[in-house]
Symmetry: C2
């Protein structure tokens, strides 16, 4: 799974900590998602998609 979180975050000029605050998670969680340490839960994926006004499929991509 790859994602567009870093790109979308930087477009908005937010730090990882600031995005974490917007999403209700820690900055380490944002960092872990951006660096690919793990995938978000489905509820968090919905929160992220909603925040960036995109579909989950537009932000997260399965890498076969």
């Amino acid at each position: 799974m790859q994602n567009e979180i870093r790109r979308l975050r930087e477009q908005r000029g937010l730090s990882q900590a600031a995005l974490g605050a917007e999403l209700g998670v820690s900055r380490q969680t944002v960092n872990s998602l951006e660096t690919g340490k793990y995938d978000p839960s489905l509820p968090l994926a919905f929160t992220i998609a909603r925040y960036f006004a995109r579909s989950i499929e537009e932000i997260f991509h399965v890498d076969d």
Copy 2:
């Protein structure tokens, strides 16, 4: 979170065990998702959406 898994599964005439086999998970997992015990991981949500040829947003709904 609510989902349309049971409805989609029954449309196809599959048992929980048969759907589990199609998705690569156990029948208890399918049962737990249908009965709302927990939400799937994001990768499993993608697998389910792909299997039913729908978007994640069409199958899973956040209940505010």
